[in-house]
């Protein structure tokens, strides 16, 4: 059995998106900036895609800018927030401790350039509190960026409330909605966001393409300079096949949203119910304000990478926030932000489901995972100490 439960990392492209993309890899290869028929066909496809993406998130077509993905959209949004704030002498930015690195590392750069950044707590349940945002706002706060749904634990932040607060205080507000768009309803007007990032490959579109929503009155700042593409705000010949396919994938995701949500939720509930029976395990993040498909758990006494490798050998493709999978020696900053000790965070597992997963697959995971955990514990000196009482159980 081969089971892909790493959909928060990336998704398989949908057939509809592939079919939509094909003509633009083959026959319709014009540059949308060209005046001839080839070019104008491409330009028309580009504008149709823009309208489709806008409609999917409750925006106007001229509020959508295509980018190379979520990271670029986040970078441009934050740069815009910083520059516009600075113009008014406001160099304080509010964000949260468990943002994606696309946000956190961009903010770090801004700190080096003299900006002050407040990273809000996310507490044990992985939720930013509106009250904390209020408290953090200062005279010189010019920009707030809070993710809509966390990529590792799936918790959904009170974006609508934060959006209303920021609008009321006249502070520019961005949300990184890369994990949310296509998975839960997203309406930029209701959320009162000024900027919103999304990424094609998270909802069965292709990699290398994303979009930034920018509210009409907000002067988006240039990030990539060059030609006049994207109304002069993002230079470079547009990735037409990618943009067309992303728009198709997004439409499809939204058409299927309510149906797929029920299926995904029932699989997630079963996973959690079964897997939390494993002793000294913990489900991370609030279970109510949560994406339908993401399950993040910690298992005490074992390390995540070895768990992933053994699961992979059994045909299960998942993810972990252990240091060994992050490429550094520290475990995931998200799990640490929840207050989990390092040694527990090392033993984390993320299963991210999709509508294509089945109940049979869930049954198989529920059989295999407890065996893998038990085996790794049987060879773990940490587990031995925990069992002997030489080390205290944390979970």
């Amino acid at each position: 059995m081969k089971i892909y439960v790493d959909n928060a990392a990336t998704t398989k492209m949908s057939q509809r998106a592939i079919q939509a993309m094909m003509p633009y890899l083959d026959g319709v290869y014009g540059n949308p900036s060209s005046l001839h028929t080839y070019g104008q066909e491409a330009a028309e496809a580009l504008e149709n895609a823009r309208e489709a993406v806008a409609k999917a998130i409750g925006a106007e077509a001229n509020e959508i800018y295509f980018t190379s993905g979520g990271t670029e959209a986040d970078n441009q949004a934050i740069l815009t927030g910083a520059i516009l704030g600075e113009r008014k002498g406001k160099k304080h930015i509010i964000s949260s401790k468990f943002e994606h690195h696309a946000v956190l590392n961009t903010l770090k750069q801004l700190e080096k350039q003299g900006f002050t950044v407040t990273l809000l707590e996310v507490y044990e349940n992985g939720l930013v509190r509106l009250e904390d945002v209020k408290q953090a706002i200062r005279e010189d706060t010019g920009f707030v960026t809070i993710m809509m749904a966390n990529n590792e634990i799936g918790t959904i932040q009170p974006i609508r409330e934060i959006g209303a607060l920021c609008r009321e205080r006249g502070i520019l507000f961005h949300t990184d909605a890369v994990q949310a768009v296509g998975h839960i309803p997203v309406d930029v007007k209701k959320l009162k966001v000024d900027l919103l990032s999304l990424s094609g490959h998270k909802f069965h579109g292709p990699k290398g393409v994303g979009a930034l929503y920018v509210r009409k009155s907000v002067p988006l700042q240039k990030f990539i300079t060059g030609g006049a593409q994207e109304r002069g705000k993002r230079a470079g010949t547009e990735n037409i096949p990618g943009i067309v396919a992303m728009a198709e994938a997004l439409q499809e995701s939204i058409e299927n949203l309510s149906e797929s949500q029920n299926h995904i939720l029932s699989m997630r509930d079963r996973l959690i119910e079964k897997l939390r029976e494993i002793p000294h395990s913990k489900v991370n993040g609030d279970l109510q304000y949560h994406l339908p498909g993401t399950v993040n758990m910690c298992f005490e006494g074992i390390e995540g990478e070895s768990m992933l490798l053994l699961l992979d050998a059994k045909g299960i493709a998942a993810s972990s926030g252990s240091a060994c999978t992050s490429g550094s020696l520290d475990p995931s900053h998200v799990l640490l932000a929840l207050g989990l000790p390092h040694e527990v965070a090392h033993g984390s597992l993320r299963l991210s489901l999709d509508a294509a997963n089945t109940q049979e697959e869930v049954t198989y995971i529920c059989e295999v995972l407890p065996e893998v955990v038990a085996y790794l514990r049987s060879i773990s000196p940490v587990w031995e100490e925990l069992e002997k009482g030489e080390r205290k159980h944390v979970i």
Partner: protein, 145 residues
Amino acid sequence: MLYSQLVMDHFQNPRNVGKMEDADGIGEVGNAKCGDIMKMYIKVEDGKISDVKFNTFGCGSAIATSSIATEMIKGKTIPEALRLSNQAVVEALGGLPAHKIHCSVLAEEAVKAAVKDYYDRHGISYDEKLFRFCDHEHDENEEDN
């Protein structure tokens, strides 16, 4: 692939894995905070390591390096075992990704820690310098650009 076939083999079919009730020396190195702990047990007969076992909390390469290190010292004299270097462990595994080299260092140190414990238990004097382990407060390899 992240790991060679040999590393995967030692990870999936670890040699000499388990505990030893009547060990003559036990060494434990690493820390749970950093994500890897190795515990090595040795049995010494006539100056030779007649048996060895290990338990490891850690990633795939931590388990694989422990496993191959036990094979490399089993049947060897104590001075031979003390000469086991992390480079030798890496070579025996046919290489490790750069950010996993510290696992091989842990394997070398686990062997040394077990021998040191054997010496301590048996009142055998030794040169402290042999067992001066580098501490494991890893530097954060933070990208700074």
